[in-house]
C-alpha cells in the first residue's frame, strides 16, 4: 500500500511562489485507482512525487509502511514503483526490444518482449527491432511506454494520462488494454485520466483540483457528481467540488 502524508509542493514561478499541492493525505490500496480533475490541478505533480522525480516541499511517502521520501528515483523503482510518462521519451539507437528488456530487468527473448507489445495492441514483430525514436507516432510510443510498465510488473504502477495524444481509434483499443490490465497486472494501479471509460472501471476515484483532494470514493459515489446529467460536467465539477468541502 502506498500512503502520502501531508504532502505539499511549491514552486517558484513568474508571479512568485505557487503552491501546486497543499497538504495531501492519500492512501492507495491494491486495485484500480483513478485520479481525475481539471488541468493544472496538481495531478501530474502528485504522480512525479510518488515516482521520486519531484521532491515534495513537505510531507512523507510510505510504501508498505516504509518511509521512501528520501529515496531516489532508482531506489523507488527497485522497490516496486513504475511510472508511464504522459509524454514518452524518445531514444536514438535504443530499440523497443532494448527498452522492454531494460524495463523487465533481464535479457528477455524476442518472444517474451512481443507478448508485452501484443498486450498493448501492437503487432509485435513490426515493432520489436525499431528504434524508440521520432519514426514512431505518439500513439505507438504511448503503447510502448505502457508495455514497459507491464514488463516491470511491480506493486505500484503509475500512468500519467495514458489517453493523451492518442487518436480515437487507438484510444478504444487502449481502453481494452486497461480493462485487461485491471485483471492481470495486480498490485496498485494509479491512473491519471479524464476519460469516463477509464473512470468507469475504477475501484476508487480521487478528484484533485487546485492542489487539494476534493473528493475520493468509489466510482458510484463520485461519478454521478462528476458527470451530472443536467449540467455540463465542467460546471458540476466546479460547483459541487468547490462547495462540498
Amino acid at each position: 500500500m502506498l500512503e502520502l502524508k501531508e504532502i505539499s509542493f511549491a514552486a517558484e514561478g513568474e508571479n512568485g511562489r505557487k503552491e501546486i499541492l497543499k497538504n495531501i493525505n492519500l492512501k492507495i490500496d491494491e486495485g484500480f485507482n483513478v485520479i481525475t480533475g481539471p488541468n493544472g490541478g496538481g495531478k501530474s505533480t502528485l504522480a512525479k512525487i510518488i515516482a521520486g522525480i519531484i521532491t515534495p516541499t513537505e510531507g512523507k511517502i510510505y510504501l508498505d509502511g516504509e518511509d521512501i521520501t528520501e529515496l531516489s528515483i532508482t531506489e523507488r523503482a527497485k522497490k516496486g514503483i513504475s511510472f508511464a510518462f504522459q509524454q514518452p521519451v524518445r531514444f536514438k539507437g535504443i530499440t523497443v526490444h532494448d527498452l522492454i528488456s531494460l524495463a523487465s530487468g533481464k535479457d528477455i527473448s524476442i518472444n517474451e518482449a512481443c507478448d508485452y507489445l501484443s498486450q498493448v495492441g501492437l503487432c509485435a514483430r513490426d515493432y520489436i527491432n525499431r528504434e524508440v525514436n521520432a519514426s514512431l507516432s505518439g500513439g505507438e510510443l504511448k503503447r510502448i511506454e505502457i508495455a514497459t510498465v507491464l514488463a516491470r510488473g511491480t506493486k505500484v504502477s503509475l500512468f500519467d494520462e495514458p489517453e493523451a495524444g492518442i487518436d480515437l481509434w487507438s484510444f478504444n483499443n487502449l481502453i481494452k488494454v486497461f480493462e485487461k490490465m485491471r485483471n492481470t497486472l495486480g498490485g496498485s494501479i494509479l491512473i491519471i485520466s479524464h476519460q469516463e471509460r477509464i473512470l468507469n472501471i475504477a475501484d476508487k476515484v480521487i478528484v484533485v483540483a487546485n492542489g487539494n483532494i476534493k473528493a475520493e470514493g468509489t466510482k458510484d459515489e463520485i461519478l454521478p457528481e462528476l458527470l451530472g446529467a443536467t449540467a455540463s460536467a465542467c460546471k458540476v465539477l466546479t460547483d459541487s467540488l468547490g462547495g462540498n468541502e
Binding site: 515516482a51 522525480i53 531516489s72 528515483i73 532508482t74 523503482a77 527497485k78 514503483i81 513504475s82 511510472f83 510518462f85 514518452p88 521519451v89 531514444f91 536514438k92 539507437g93 535504443i94 530499440t95 532494448d98 531494460l102 524495463a103 530487468g105 514497459t148 516491470r152
Partner: protein
C-alpha cells in the same frame, strides 16, 4: 603473433585465427600473412609502402580483410592501399587499425585508401579504429579515404572509432558518376584529452547520383571533435549530410556542414545537432531501475550502436 596482437586483431576485425577468404595482415610495418582467392588478388606495392587489392569483375559475396596492427612504441608509418573493384562485383572489405602502445613515445598509422569502384559494382567497406596500452605514448591515426564511384556503382562505408585513439584527422573525399550512390556512417567516441577531426567532401558529378553522410558521435571528458562535411551537387542529384553529437563533461564539439548546389536540379540537405543527454531520458531509464551512470551508459551505447 603474440596475445596482445591477437586481441587487437579481434577488436578491429572481429577475426580469430585465420580469416576466411582473401586477407592481408600487416603487423608493425611488415606483412604478417596473406591469402588470395581466384577472384581477389593482393599485391605488395613496389614504389611505396602498401598493397593493391584487385577484385575481378563480377566477383560476388566474397570478403577481404586487411587489418593493420601496431604494438611497438615510437613507430610511425604511412601506408597506401589501392582497391580496384571490378564492374558488377559485390564484395565486403574489412579494414581497421589497432594500436597497443605501452611505451612513452608515439605510435602512428596513417592509411591512405583509394577506391576505384567499377560500373554497377557494390561494395561495403567497414573500418574500425582502436587503441589501448597503459603507457603515455600517444596512439594516433590519420586515415584518408579517396572514393571514385563509376556509373551505377554503390559504396557503403562504415567507420568506427570507439576507444583509445589520442588524435585523429580523418579525411574522406568522394567523386560519384551517373546513378552512383554513396552511404557513409561514422561512429565516433572521444574521451580524455583526445582530438578527432573529420572532413568529408563529396562531389556529386553524375546525373541521379546520391550521397548520405551520417555521423554520430559522443564527446566525453575534455575531448574535442570537429566535423566538416561538404557536399557539392554538380548535376541532377540528391545529397544529405547529418551530424548528431552528444556532448558530455567539458568536451567541445564543432559541426560545420556545407552544401553547395552548382546545378538547378541538385537537392541537398544538411542537419547538425549537438546537445547533452536529455534529462528526461535519464529519468525514464532511472524509473526502470537503472542508476544514473547505468542510464547514461545505455543512452551512449544505443546512440553509437
Amino acid at each position: 603473433m603474440n596475445n596482445i596482437e591477437l586481441d587487437l586483431l579481434k577488436m578491429i576485425a572481429d577475426i580469430e585465427g585465420t580469416p576466411k577468404g582473401a586477407y592481408n595482415i600487416r603487423a608493425n610495418g611488415k606483412l604478417d600473412s596473406r591469402a588470395v582467392t581466384e577472384n581477389i588478388d593482393i599485391k605488395t606495392k613496389t614504389d611505396k609502402p602498401g598493397i593493391d587489392i584487385i577484385i575481378s569483375p563480377g566477383t560476388k559475396g566474397e570478403t577481404v580483410h586487411i587489418p593493420v596492427i601496431i604494438s611497438e612504441t615510437d613507430y610511425s608509418e604511412t601506408v597506401f592501399n589501392d582497391f580496384y573493384i571490378g564492374d558488377d562485383a559485390d564484395v565486403t572489405i574489412m579494414a581497421g587499425c589497432g594500436i597497443h602502445n605501452c611505451g612513452e613515445k608515439e605510435s602512428r598509422h596513417d592509411g591512405i585508401h583509394t577506391f576505384y569502384v567499377g560500373k554497377n559494382a557494390k561494395i561495403k567497406y567497414i573500418e574500425k579504429h582502436y587503441g589501448d596500452g597503459d603507457g603515455n605514448g600517444e596512439k594516433n591515426m590519420n586515415p584518408t579515404t579517396v572514393i571514385n564511384i563509376a556509373d551505377g556503382g554503390y559504396m557503403e562505408m562504415e567507420t568506427t572509432q570507439i576507444k583509445g585513439i589520442d588524435s585523429t584527422n580523418r579525411i574522406t573525399k568522394a567523386v560519384l558518376g551517373e546513378d552512383a550512390k554513396l552511404i557513409i556512417h561514422e561512429k565516433l567516441m572521444t574521451h580524455g584529452k583526445q582530438f578527432a577531426g573529420t572532413d568529408f567532401t563529396v562531389d556529386l558529378n553524375g546525373k541521379n547520383s546520391s550521397a548520405n553522410v551520417v555521423s554520430r558521435s559522443v564527446a566525453k571528458d575534455k575531448s574535442k571533435q570537429r566535423f566538416l562535411s561538404k557536399i557539392n551537387g554538380n548535376n541532377l542529384c540528391s545529397g544529405h549530410t547529418e551530424c548528431d553529437a552528444i556532448i558530455m563533461d567539458d568536451a567541445v564539439v564543432s559541426a560545420i556542414p556545407e552544401i553547395t548546389a552548382n546545378h538547378i536540379d541538385a537537392s541537398l540537405i544538411h542537419e547538425a545537432a549537438i546537445g547533452k543527454i536529455a534529462g528526461e531520458q535519464l529519468i525514464k531509464l532511472m524509473t526502470l531501475g537503472l542508476t544514473e551512470a547505468e542510464a547514461e551508459k545505455q543512452i551512449v551505447n544505443g546512440f553509437l550502436k
